[in-house]
Symmetry: none
Subunit: 296 residues, 2 copies
DNA sequence: GCTATTTTGTCTAAATTATGTCCATAAAGT
DNA sequence: ACTTTATGGACATAATTTAGACAAAATAGC
């Protein structure tokens, strides 16, 4: 792994400023990068990872002076055991920036804000503190006519791209259990399904994501073809479509034993059918995690 | 005798300017092309791939001075650590690999094939030699029931991600003319619109992409808000929806002077309306390029 | 509780280096 | 004629370096 990253590249990737990186180096010797012939610092991917861990640790309340000498390995363990949440974290700012960019139909700014949030917050907090609130805001704003269709479309398109980007960074062993994620016929909104796909991947599952609006027989055939161990379905809109009920029943008919996991804003409207087919209901990432663990 | 390429051909294929290519050669010795009897540079396919990798790496945050000395192999492994790429296998049939992966519902393989094709072929050839034929195959295969809905969904989802990825690598100056790309109400397929968005960006336009199925009044409002100089609409399916006709008319009513560019598989079914509102019809990338040039 | 000190992130200034772009001129293709 | 290319040099902007300053926050000492 040849060292090829410039200090600005490290700054972008780690969420620190170039000033801070140099200060930490001078004061605490957190890294000792090679130099070019002309004295420029040359960083490795490992350095980036180290700076990222250091930033997370400092944001969790550790002072940089105390942890600077720790090895990268020790930093990882430290991070796993740190529970101190820093309420000062500026998630509000990201959310506000996203909303403003969306209102202005400024795709570049929205992308910038989301991308930066993903780097600085880490994927878990990015999802729970930015993406989910943003989706809620989209929901309520759309109902109250505060958000136009165009704004919602723009947000969906950019968000989708960023979520896919986040998904690419997750690596899952190929022997892990497999889940098929989609939405049934009649359900056109896919962001919820995409979120579920990322969560499942985060929790160690191989995900086959098939987008929205998939008929029951296709779902069944796809489950067979991909040897999936479970199905994830997202129900967001509309709330009272009898087609959804019948599709759910058909899926259960075609796949009598496959666990079906259902989540989304409008699950309550289909609760009767969901219970009839013995599907699992999830309401948040934590319940999804529990459920997936029990299934694997 | 292997084929060779002029510096301008390399510039087009790699996305660099001829100035930059010569500067990189002079300053960092990134390549050492043979010369003709009259001292013109003669590049090989390998040189083109090297320049392309260098451009991608620089856009990824590496500075050219640091990576110029790396071998082509090291460049390939810089960011795509998992992918082992064989430049000798450039005759590989990407399209076939994509189709097979799609048939097997193997999202990972499809993603791998598309991503690899995008890197090796460059964006233009990737679009014209892989994406467009794949879309045509999807179309015909779907009509002939050779391809299931699940397979089509999978292909759409993965393709969309790869296209978005490709779009991110295109950089356009912010003062460039602006085009809004979407599909009108009733048109749910978005891949064509995404393709058009990429083409427009390739031809130097700032693109605001708003996804499929956008009502006419929203389109008009978005054009005003983003100060767009033109509208791009994609019509792929369905072929005979009176809603599309009325939406097109409404758009023209709301925006009497904005150029409207329309393309897609089913434009012939709406030809009368398209002519009535004085919209431009494009049939391929070349005609789009011509048209955009005349508008800017 | 209240200073004094240390820690820490941020910032400035000035010099150096990096990098994309451009020019002028000559030569070669078309 | 017009375009493309080669060469060497010039330029402007951006990035990086070092040394040090500064203010807010945390910590220590009393």
């Amino acid at each position: 792994m040849p060292p090829t990253y410039s200090i600005s590249a490290v700054a972008k990737a780690s969420g620190l400023s170039v000033h801070t990186i140099r200060a930490w180096e001078k004061r605490y010797g957190v890294t000792n990068p090679e130099r070019t012939d002309t004295n420029r610092r040359k960083y490795t991917l490992g350095d980036i990872e180290r700076f990222r861990l250091l930033r997370q640790a400092t944001e969790n309340g550790h002072s940089i002076g105390m942890i600077a000498e720790l090895s990268t390995e020790e930093l990882q363990n430290l991070d796993n055991t740190a529970e101190v949440q820093n309420p000062l974290a500026s998630n509000r700012n990201y959310l506000a920036a996203c909303l403003q960019a969306m209102m202005n139909l400024d795709a570049d700014a929205l992308e910038e804000a989301l991308s930066h949030a993903g780097i600085v917050l880490g994927i878990d907090r990015f999802l729970s503190e930015v993406v989910v609130p943003l989706l809620k805001e989209l929901d309520s704003g759309w109902e109250e006519r505060r958000i136009s269709i165009a704004q919602e479309h723009l947000a969906s398109a950019v968000l989708r791209t960023q979520l896919e980007k986040a998904r690419l960074t997750i690596q899952v062993p190929s022997h892990a259990p497999r889940i098929l994620v989609t939405t049934p016929s009649g359900q056109l909104h896919e962001i919820g399904a995409l979120l579920a796909a990322i969560s499942a991947a985060r929790h160690g599952w191989n995900v086959t994501y098939l987008g929205p609006n998939l008929p029951s027989d296709e779902i069944a055939a796809a489950v067979a073809k991909t040897h999936s161990n479970a199905i994830g379905l997202s129900l967001v809109y509309p709330a009272d479509d009898p087609l959804v009920d019948s599709e759910l029943l058909k899926i259960r008919e075609l796949l009598p034993t496959t666990p079906i996991i259902i989540g989304g804003r409008v699950i309550s409207h289909y609760r009767q059918t969901i219970q009839a087919i013995g599907a699992h209901i999830i309401t948040d990432d934590h319940s999804l995690k529990q459920l997936l663990r029990s299934l694997s």
